[in-house]
Structure formats: structure tokens, C-alpha cells
């Protein structure tokens, strides 16, 4: 899967507008993976996501339906409401959604479900759901076990283009947007209330050790379309009890969640760029087409580092690029669910003349646009001192305290300070958080460089609130890509 998703379409004509609406409502593979009960369910569904396994297959702007040939004597009737997110299947599985519903979604995502009018049984199911929803004061739209939290919570900045419902004209689009803003605001208010409760009852409260405490909040945030915040909450749950110092780490994260919630509620009062940054941090989804429609950042982009992380049920790859002319950093994200491939179209250590399109708010995150030439090998990065790197990182974090990663290319040497491995130069030192293989490679590279009379090794590091990681060593004759790599048993071979 590449970081680039939907191309910019022509929304000025009626056909273009229909395509626009279709793109707006169609899910992404990440969203399908997000609603699956486990990665194994997605793998099981993959084998059923073949048109020849299905009959009476069809879909419209509300639902998908079909009959899947399974292990039983009769085919299973499967229906998915892809707008209100619910499913029904005649298979005996107790998993919700079952692999047949997931397979139907996968087929649809890949364009394998033809448009058609719904059969009567589907129409009546949708009608029943709508009547039930209208009658419920709480707005909950499904019976127990029928509908999990809606998708959209994958990755810290999910690559999703789905909107709330399939709008049919501009007024509907505006109304849909307003409803979505209102829903997110409700989510932010609920988040802040929850945070205040934590302050009241304290971090020693046994409730915090229960994953359900965090998961319920995350589900509430997903419901409010604040997927990035939901992911932060889930990651935060993993910090509880994970280290002797976990109370301080969790408290700091709770504080930052409060900052985002507070800023998000004051979004209209914030300056434009900060407002965009806050909206992105909250999980406000921006369509790829809108990003790609913006002014490109054209440069010779040096691919400085790569870092893969597993987030919930998805593998996330970050590629750090630095503009050789502008000196600005950018980040390309790609995502892979179980047995999918991460983007490997750019190689660390190369330079590519290309357009990047940044997300709103002067974001680090960008989408790759037009390439003007094939990537070239590049071995002399512009490296800064340790002090300069700290200044650069500090400025970025001061502007957006919720940042979780920031890169820098420094010229430094490995050393030991207070029994900890650090990288150092004459301006200061930074402790490293690396494994033995990476540290050994750094030491060996340093020894090799030192033998040729040079004392500093060019390296790209990644700052995180939990420590500085070494991603790349730039040697005079080659580049060593040492960043954390996705588990090969999880991602497929590209």
C-alpha cells in the first residue's frame, strides 16, 4: 500500500461529483482491519474476498450484500451497513463481524462489488435499523453484539477519506461536516471529563490497570471521529505498570491529552495554522484529494530515515525526508494490516526530486506527489551539532507539545556517560535508546570512520518522548538503514 491514496478527482461535473461522493464514502483497507475482531479474522476473510466465492453480490451508498459459499450446505447471506457500521450474516460464527462480512467489505474496498438496487430483505433490514435508531434517544444504532465502534482509528493519523454519510449535494456536505464537528466536540468534552475523573481518583486507582477503562474511552473517541486521540489513549494504556516510572509517564500523557482536548474545544479561536495542527492531532480527517490539491513543496528530498512501529492491529512506516534546498523535514506514512505490504518505493540514503503535499497546519506529514526524476544515491547529508538538534527538536515540540516523533541528522560519536550510551560532540550529548545490534553497528562504523581520520559519524536520529533512537548511519560509501523494522511475519512481502 503506498502512502498516496485517492487521486484528486474532478468534482465540477456530475460524474466527477458522483465519483467524489463514492470516494468519500468508500472505506479503506485500514478501516476494514480496524473493525475486525483480530488480524486472523482479516486473514481468514482474505481467502473469501474473491468474486467467484459470491453470488447475488451488490452494493449501494448504504449497504453491501451477497451470498457466500462456505462450509455449510447453504450459502451464507451476508449484509453490511457500511454507513452506520453494522452487519448481519446467517453463518454460525459468534465473531462480529464474521469473516464473511469482512470479506464483503474487502471486496468492496477493492472495487469488486457491483452497484445495484438492494433486494427486499436488505431494504427491510436497513429500514428496521433506521426506525430503531430514530426511536432511541441515545442515538445508539444497533443491538448488543451487532455493531462495534466504527472504524477510523488506525495509525496516529489514519489514512482515511470516509465521511459520516453519503451526502448528495453541497448542503448535505456542509450539514455532514457540521454534524461531525459537533460530534468531535462532544468527544473532546467527554475526554476532558474523563481526565478530570482520573485526577480526582488518582493514578493508584485500580481501575487504571484494567484495559477496559481505557478501551471504553478509546471507543467513545472513535465514535466521536477522534481517531488519533483514541490511538493515543490505547498506547497510553500500554504504559500503565510497564516501567518503575510509569506514573510520571502516564501523568505527562494525560496532561498532553488535556491540552489537545482544551485546544480542540477552542478551535475557532486559534490561529489558522495552530488550529489545523490541533485538528489533525485530534483526528480530524483530511481527504487525500484535498491534500494533493494544495500547493506542492518541491525539492530534492533526501530520504534520511525509516522507522516502523506496530500500532494496535496495523504496522505503520514513517519515512523521514529532508529538503536539500529548504532544509525542512517531511514525513511520509504508510500502513499495512496483516499480510499487507508497506511502501518501499523510496530507499533510505537516496535523494529524489519530487513534489510533496503537506497536510494542513504546516504538518510534517505529507503525501508524495509528482516525481521529476528517478531517485539517486546520496551520501553526504547536512548534519547539525547535538546542541542544534536539541534546539530544532525543542522548537518543534514547543509549537506542538503533543508531537511524538521528530527527526534530526547529526554528526556525533558514540560514547559512554554515567554508564549510559550516548552520542556526543563538543556541544553536548544525548542518551540513546537502541538495541545491541544497532549500538554495535554504530560502534563499528565509528571505529571505521576514526581509522580514516574522521571523528564524527553522520547519523539520523528520531526523538521520541521515551528516548532518542538511531535510524540511519550515513557512511561515506553507503547508508546503513537501522530503524526498527516491521515484523516480517505480520506484513506481507511487497
Amino acid at each position: 500500500m503506498t502512502p498516496d491514496g485517492i487521486g484528486a478527482g474532478d468534482v465540477g461535473t456530475s460524474d466527477g461529483y458522483r465519483e467524489f461522493v463514492a470516494e468519500l464514502t468508500r472505506w479503506t483497507l485500514e478501516q476494514v482491519a480496524a473493525v475486525a475482531p483480530s488480524p486472523r479474522s482479516v486473514a481468514a476473510a482474505e481467502s473469501l474476498a474473491e468474486p467467484n466465492r459470491w453470488s447475488a453480490l451488490g452494493g449501494d451508498q448504504r449497504a453491501l450484500w451477497g451470498r457466500c459459499r462456505g462450509s455449510g450446505a447453504e450459502p451464507y447471506d451476508t449484509v453490511v451497513d457500511h454507513v452506520e457500521v453494522a452487519w448481519r450474516c446467517t453463518c454460525p460464527s459468534r465473531k462480529r463481524p464474521c469473516k464473511h462480512a469482512l470479506a464483503l467489505l474487502l471486496l468492496w474496498v477493492r472495487g469488486g462489488v457491483p452497484d445495484s438496487a438492494p433486494p427486499e430483505s436488505v431494504e427491510s433490514w436497513i429500514d428496521r435499523r433506521d426506525r430503531t435508531a430514530a426511536g432511541m434517544a441515545s442515538g445508539s444504532d444497533a443491538g448488543p453484539g451487532e455493531s462495534p465502534p466504527p472504524p477510523g482509528a488506525i495509525g496516529d493519523e489514519p489514512p482515511t477519506d470516509r465521511d459520516e454519510s453519503p451526502p448528495t449535494d453541497r448542503d448535505d456536505l456542509d450539514r455532514s461536516r457540521d454534524e461531525r464537528v459537533a460530534r468531535m466536540m462532544e468527544g473532546l468534552v467527554a475526554l476532558d471529563r474523563w481526565l478530570e475523573d482520573r485526577m480526582r481518583t488518582g493514578l493508584a486507582d485500580p481501575e487504571l490497570a484494567r484495559y477496559a477503562t481505557w478501551d471504553q474511552l478509546a471507543a467513545r473517541l472513535v465514535d466521536a471521529r477522534a481517531g488519533s486521540l483514541a490511538n493515543r489513549v490505547r498506547r497510553l494504556a500500554g504504559l500503565v505498570g510497564a516501567s518503575p516510572d510509569w506514573h510520571a509517564e502516564v501523568l505527562a500523557e494525560l496532561g498532553l491529552l488535556h491540552l489537545i482536548a482544551e485546544a480542540g474545544r477552542r478551535l475557532p479561536d486559534l490561529p489558522g495554522q495552530l488550529a489545523d495542527a490541533v485538528a489533525t492531532a485530534s483526528g480530524w480527517q483530511v481527504r487525500h484529494a484535498d491534500v494533493l490539491g494544495g500547493v506542492p513543496d518541491t525539492d530534492e528530498w533526501f530520504v534520511a530515515g525509516r522507522s516502523d512501529t506496530r500500532e494496535d492491529r496495523i504496522e505503520v512506516r514513517r519515512l523521514w525526508l529532508r529538503g536539500l534546498q529548504s532544509g525542512r523535514w517531511a514525513m511520509l506514512l504508510s500502513f499495512a494490516a496483516y499480510q499487507q505490504s508497506l511502501d518501499d518505493s523510496l530507499t533510505v540514503g537516496t535523494v529524489v526530486h519530487a513534489d510533496l503535499h503537506r497536510y494542513p497546519g504546516g504538518s510534517l506529514r505529507a503525501l508524495a506527489g509528482r516525481r521529476y526524476a528517478d531517485p539517486l544515491l546520496f551520501t553526504t547529508p547536512v548534519a547539525v551539532t547535538i546542541a542544534e538538534a536539541c534546539d530544532e527538536i525543542g522548537r518543534a515540540v514547543a509549537a506542538e507539545p503533543w508531537l511524538e516523533r521528530y527527526p534530526s541528522t547529526v554528526a556525533a560519536t558514540p560514547s559512554v556517560l554515567d554508564r549510559r550510551w550516548v552520542i556526543t560532540d563538543s556541544t553536548g550529548s544525548l542518551p540513546l535508546q537502541v538495541d545491541d545490534r544497532v549500538l554495535g553497528t554504530l560502534l563499528a562504523s565509528y571505529a571505521g570512520i576514526a581509522a580514516s581520520g574522521q571523528m564524527l559519524v553522520d547519523m539520523t536520529i528520531e526523538w521520541t518522548p521515551w528516548g532518542v533512537r538511531l535510524l540511519t548511519i550515513h557512511l561515506p560509501d553507503r547508508t546503513l538503514d537501522l530503524g526498527p523494522r516491521a515484523d516480517s511475519s505480520f506484513v506481507g512481502v511487497s
Binding site: 481526565l195 488518582g202 506514573h247 545490534r437
Partner: protein, 262 residues
């Protein structure tokens, strides 16, 4: 980061552990953080505490400063031998993943050709052979002074066994069993080698149980036969022959990259 901020943060952590139902939030010393917290009108302890935690967490995170410079590490004795090529290292990785029977020959050839192993591969080899005294000794020779220097600094790369290897074992390829009727092929010319094996594949003499001895034969035969064997069996319709052609091709490439005249 100012020590005042750090002290205040520790007080906040302590208060947060107990919760504001049992302990009032600490008051910040006068300064920018205190001003920031006071700016927000807070009706109760919990929300005041939350405002303080958010402000201090942001300030601490943004105050990312370097520690004092550290002294330089003493570097190992220089190693004048040329490093083997990146292509050779890539082939070593393929060998480890697909045909580990060739790894001993790769390392010994590096040593015999007067080359050294580049840093990233050396670290992987030290990690890989922590338990095998003979292979570890070869890696130590191929790595030169750098290998010892690395294990001094990183005990995690050191050996896990106290066993020692004999000089003879270290210097020579281990013998691999080959069935007696095929032993003559170890020193045969390319024509004889290919003809005999082709005959065996054609008449069904070589099947899956013969795989191990045939792999051994291909790993120890004369390098001169490899190119012919790779091309002759590369288009065979027998799976075992195809696998052996792959092995022959990889060994041929390995030796060529390391500068062995074939």
C-alpha cells in the same frame, strides 16, 4: 530544565498518585508556569490539577536540552585490510537465509583473500556465532582488531561458551558427508560432474532423500564446475535439480565477488 520545574513536577506526580479527592494540587512557584495555570479559571481541584499537569508536561517536553559532552572512546588498532564489497555482504545475507551450508566457505574465503568484514555484517556475525567456538574464532579473524574491541564494549556480542577451537578446525572447511559412489565428483571436471548428475535426475536415481548429500556435494565440489551446473540444471523440471542449480549459482557468485579466480 529548571530545577524548580522538576521539583514542581515531582509534587504533581505525588499528588496525582493519591488523587485530588485526598490531596490538594500543589501550588507552582511564581513564574511563567504559575501564570499560565492561574490564567485558566478553574472551579475545582481536579481541573486545576489537570491544567497544571498539561502545562508542566508541555514545558518539560519542550525543554529538550543536551547533556554535557562525553569523552571520546579509544578506537581499535587500525586494520589495513580492504573491506569486502557491499555485494559480498548482501550475498552473505542470502547465504544465511537460504543456503547456510556456504557460510563457512564465505568467511574462510574472506580471510584467505586478505579482506575484512564491514561493520554491520561483523556485528551480525558476532551475534550469530556466540555459541560456536570455531565459527566465532573465524569471525574474530575476519573482523580483526575491531571484533575484540566491539566485544569489550558490548558484552552482549561476546561468546556464550568457554569452549576453544583448534587452529586446524578454524583454518579448514568442515568435511561434509558425500555418499561413496559420488565422492569422485568432488574433484571431477565440469563435463563429468554435470553428465553424471543429469543421468541421475533423468533416471529417477536422485530423489528427496538424496538432497542432503547432493547439497554437500555442491558445497564442496570444484568451483570450476559451478557455472556449468547452474546453467545445466537451471531449466530442469525436477525440483531438486532446480534447487541445486540455485545453490551452484549462489556459490559461484560468492566466490566471484570475493575475488576467487574460477
Amino acid at each position: 530544565m529548571s530545577s524548580d520545574l522538576e521539583i514542581y513536577w515531582r509534587e504533581l506526580v505525588t499528588a496525582a498518585l493519591l488523587g485530588t479527592d485526598r490531596r490538594q494540587p500543589p501550588v507552582a512557584s511564581p513564574g511563567p508556569v504559575a501564570d499560565l495555570i492561574d490564567d485558566a479559571v478553574r472551579p475545582d481541584h481536579a481541573s486545576r490539577m489537570l491544567a497544571a499537569v498539561g502545562s508542566v508536561a508541555a514545558a518539560r517536553r519542550a525543554a529538550f536540552v543536551a547533556g554535557p559532552p562525553a569523552g571520546q572512546l579509544q578506537v581499535p588498532e587500525p586494520d589495513e585490510r580492504p573491506s569486502c564489497s557491499a555485494a559480498a555482504v548482501a550475498t552473505w545475507r542470502t547465504i544465511v537465509a537460504e543456503w547456510p551450508v556456504l557460510e563457512d566457505e564465505w568467511v574462510l574465503t574472506v580471510i584467505q583473500r586478505g579482506m575484512r568484514v564491514p561493520p554491520d555484517a561483523l556485528v551480525e556475525q558476532l551475534q550469530r556465532h556466540r555459541r560456536d567456538a570455531t565459527r566465532r574464532a573465524r569471525v574474530a579473524i575476519a573482523g580483526g582488531p575491531l571484533a575484540g574491541w566491539l566485544t569489550d564494549h558490548l558484552p552482549a556480542l561476546g561468546p556464550t561458551t568457554r569452549a576453544t577451537a583448534s587452529a586446524e578446525d578454524v583454518a579448514n572447511l568442515p568435511e561434509l558427508p558425500v555418499s561413496p559412489e559420488l565422492t569422485y565428483l568432488l574433484t571431477a571436471d565440469a563435463h563429468t560432474f554435470v553428465r553424471r548428475l543429469a543421468h541421475g535426475f533423468d533416471n529417477g536415481e536422485f530423489r528427496a532423500p538424496h538432497r542432503a548429500v547432493l547439497v554437500n556435494l555442491f558445497a564442496r565440489c570444484r568451483p570450476e564446475v559451478l557455472a556449468n551446473a547452474a546453467s545445466s540444471f537451471g531449466s530442469a523440471n525436477v525440483g531438486l535439480a532446480l534447487a541445486l542449480a540455485d545453490l551452484a549459482g549462489l556459490r559461484h557468485r560468492m566466490l566471484s565477488e570475493l575475488g576467487v579466480a574460477i
